[in-house]
């Protein structure tokens, strides 16, 4: 009889510990935040390494466009190469090596620019042009539908501006406009 009670009590305690463990693990899992890589656009120096260092081909880094910041210029420093022959869509006037930016006339004097991400290789040539001559509305972001979220990001290792950061999984982007220099100043987990 004592032996039976001992076995039953032991079984009950084992079950309770198991349930407690599972519950605890679940709670911990739900409260600990997954992190993903992202580029701080205010730190990015458009060095071009995002196009060449990513393990993905083409790179998981793409140009994104903050429409609210865009000046919708005819002479767009992100679309046209510096000092272009003409402000047209001819290949010789385009800055993008893959013609990934589509330009559309809206009304005089405004033009809209849209990124074709399938063509974008993340070279940042347009970002440099837009930053130098425009409002900086074109900027790089890691696209999480492409990114493998490597533990040790190959681009982050060589980024000269320390622009790569781990950010919470539920807020994975730093799009200019909503994301500002002030919000960039808030601490996030750095690379490494």
């Amino acid at each position: 009889m004592e032996r039976r009670r001992f076995i039953r009590t032991s079984m009950q305690m084992a079950l309770a510990v198991s349930l407690g463990g599972v519950a605890g693990y679940s709670v911990l899992s739900s409260t600990s935040r997954k992190m993903v890589w992202q580029i701080d656009p205010f730190k990015c120096v458009q060095c071009g390494r995002c196009a060449t260092e990513c393990v993905m081909t083409p790179s998981a880094v793409k140009c994104v466009h903050a429409y609210a910041l865009c000046g919708y210029c005819d002479l767009c420093g992100g679309y046209l190469k510096p000092d272009p022959n003409a402000r047209t869509t001819a290949a010789e006037n385009q800055l993008c090596p893959t013609s990934a930016i589509k330009r559309k006339y809206i009304e005089e004097p405004y033009f809209e620019y849209e990124i074709d991400e399938a063509l974008c290789i993340g070279c940042a040539k347009c970002v440099a042009g837009c930053t130098s001559f425009g409002n900086g509305s074109l900027h790089l972001q890691i696209r999480h539908n492409e990114c493998k979220n490597c533990n040790e990001c190959a681009i982050a290792r060589v980024c000269p501006a320390d622009a790569f950061q781990r950010v919470p999984y539920d807020t994975p982007y730093m799009i200019k406009g909503g994301f500002t220099k002030e919000s960039a100043a808030k601490p996030t987990e750095k690379k490494g």
């Binding site: 001819a90 006339y105 001559f133």
Partner: protein, 472 residues
């Protein structure tokens, strides 16, 4: 068995041959889309089109001022076109407490037009967004009270601001150019309309990107303007509005944001213009007045804002933004013929270059702010010897970046305003960067308008407001 092997062998060979031919004759670029002009479906509703404009149609009088001030800043880059205030009152060499004092400010339409000053009055070519009108506004320099306004309706869409030009002022007249190339001449004291000229209508001027940036010139009794279109340059009688001469434009040179600079070379006075398409000089006197003396298409960029910096020895420094960089040319004369040689041409990171403002020459050295595409030098004030514009003697350093802001020299001090309203006072030292004082005066946005200074009042502006600061 052997027969089957032959069949298999020749079948494989046939397949390989077919594949070889397919590979050789297949166009691997067949799915490529060509990038050709016109894919953006650029519209034909040109900015040149628009309803007729009745230049100077409306006048509003608000009051008068009693002033004893006698100082002047009569036009873009001042009386001598060098951006140096001559005979300035002594200015403070350091600032403490609330110095320099912000005396007054006034709201303006979005733009970058700087003011001119004449004996206690400030003249600014504004754009009134509420009434959609160009408006020449006259203020009291001492207290900012608006005295009168002469305006005319011109519908515009904002395009990085609207107004961009500095009026030219004499004792008798004020001459303005509006965003869409409307020229207006009024009496300086009363604001009475003298004449108006629509350069788009009369000369088929192509309105520059982001509207007109050319500041008008008054030379004696003549208004000197560079419309492009059918006439590269014209002279208009200030008193009557009669066109005195027109310089033909067979090369199709277009109006730039640069302004005409007067230059006397080997005793010959000429007007130098850094246009879109070429740099050229038009005779300013004598029997050949109004004729092109020389022209060089080696200088040809889509956007040119800074004006030419002309030196007595025949050298002319040209610079522009948006990747254009700079060029030094040398004009020489043999008999009645002029020759232009390109001495240097380089990208912005390799020496003195500017995007919007024009460099200033002081005691043999040239000072200017580098554009954003100048690499590590971006937005820094730099000093070079005009004889070697690639050798940077000093810079304001990585902590001394001033955006695209304006600068001028007065009382042996360089005043620099950055994009966000920080005013910095610098000693124009030949050997090193010497900062005398710095203060944030206002929360500015795109404070790019040229400065004006007279009687110790320094006029500044950002995209929405004009400010008067006491610096003596």
């Amino acid at each position: 068995m052997e027969k089957n092997f032959k069949y298999i062998f020749w079948s494989v060979v046939a397949v390989l041959v077919i594949l070889l031919f397919w590979w050789m004759f297949r166009d691997p670029t067949g799915k490529f889309a060509e990038s050709l002009p016109g894919a953006d479906n650029r519209g034909k509703d040109s900015i040149m089109a628009g309803p007729p404009v009745n230049i100077g149609e409306k006048f509003e009088f608000f009051g008068t001022t009693n002033t004893t001030l006698k100082g002047t800043w009569t036009r873009f880059r001042g009386a001598d076109y060098d951006n140096i205030v001559k005979n300035s009152v002594p200015l403070k060499s350091s600032w403490s407490g609330n110095e320099p004092e912000l005396k007054w400010s006034v709201d303006l339409g979005e733009g970058h037009a700087g003011p001119a000053i004449y004996e206690g009055k400030v003249y600014v070519m504004d754009y009134d967004e509420a009434t959609r009108s160009d408006a020449l506004r006259c203020f009291s320099l001492e207290d900012g009270k608006e005295l009168w306004r002469r305006s005319y309706k011109v519908p515009l869409k904002r395009n990085h601001g609207m107004s961009r030009t500095v009026p030219a002022v004499t004792a008798d007249y004020v001459l303005t150019i509006g965003p869409r190339c409307h020229v207006m001449c009024v009496k300086r004291e009363t604001g009475d309309l003298v004449w108006g000229l629509d350069m788009v209508q009369k000369y088929q001027t192509e309105v520059p990107l982001w509207f007109t940036g050319q500041c008008p010139m008054i030379d004696g009794n003549k208004a000197i303007l560079a419309p492009g279109g059918t006439s590269v340059m014209i002279a208009v009688d200030m008193a009557t509005g009669k066109v005195l001469w027109e310089t033909p434009n067979p090369g199709g040179i277009k109006m730039s944001h640069s302004s005409i600079m007067p230059w006397t070379f080997k005793g010959k006075k000429m007007y130098v213009y850094s246009a879109v398409g070429a740099v050229l000089a038009v005779s300013a006197e004598g029997p050949d007045e109004g004729k092109i003396l020389w022209k060089s298409t080696a200088w040809n960029h889509a956007v040119v804002a800074p004006s030419p910096v002309c030196f007595p020895d025949g050298k002319i420094f040209l610079t522009a933004g948006y990747g254009a960089g700079s060029m030094m040319i040398k004009v020489s004369q043999a008999g009645s013929e002029y020759k232009v040689d390109v001495l240097k041409q380089y990208p912005p990171k390799d020496g003195m270059a500017c995007e919007q403002q024009t460099p200033v020459v002081w005691e043999g050295m040239m000072y200017g702010i580098e554009p954003k595409d100048a690499g590590p030098l971006r937005n820094q004030l730099i000093c070079v010897d005009p004889n070697d514009v690639n050798k940077v003697i000093w810079t304001s350093g990585k902590d001394g970046r001033f955006g695209l802001g304006p600068y001028l020299i007065a009382d042996q001090k360089i005043f620099v305003l950055d994009d966000e309203g920080v005013l910095t006072m610098i000693k124009p030292d030949k050997n090193k960067y010497v900062q005398l004082a710095q203060k944030k005066l206002f929360d500015g946005v795109d404070a790019w308008g040229p400065m004006a200074l007279a009687d110790g009042f320094l006029m500044l502006r950002d995209s929405k407001k004009m400010y008067c600061v006491k610096v003596n």
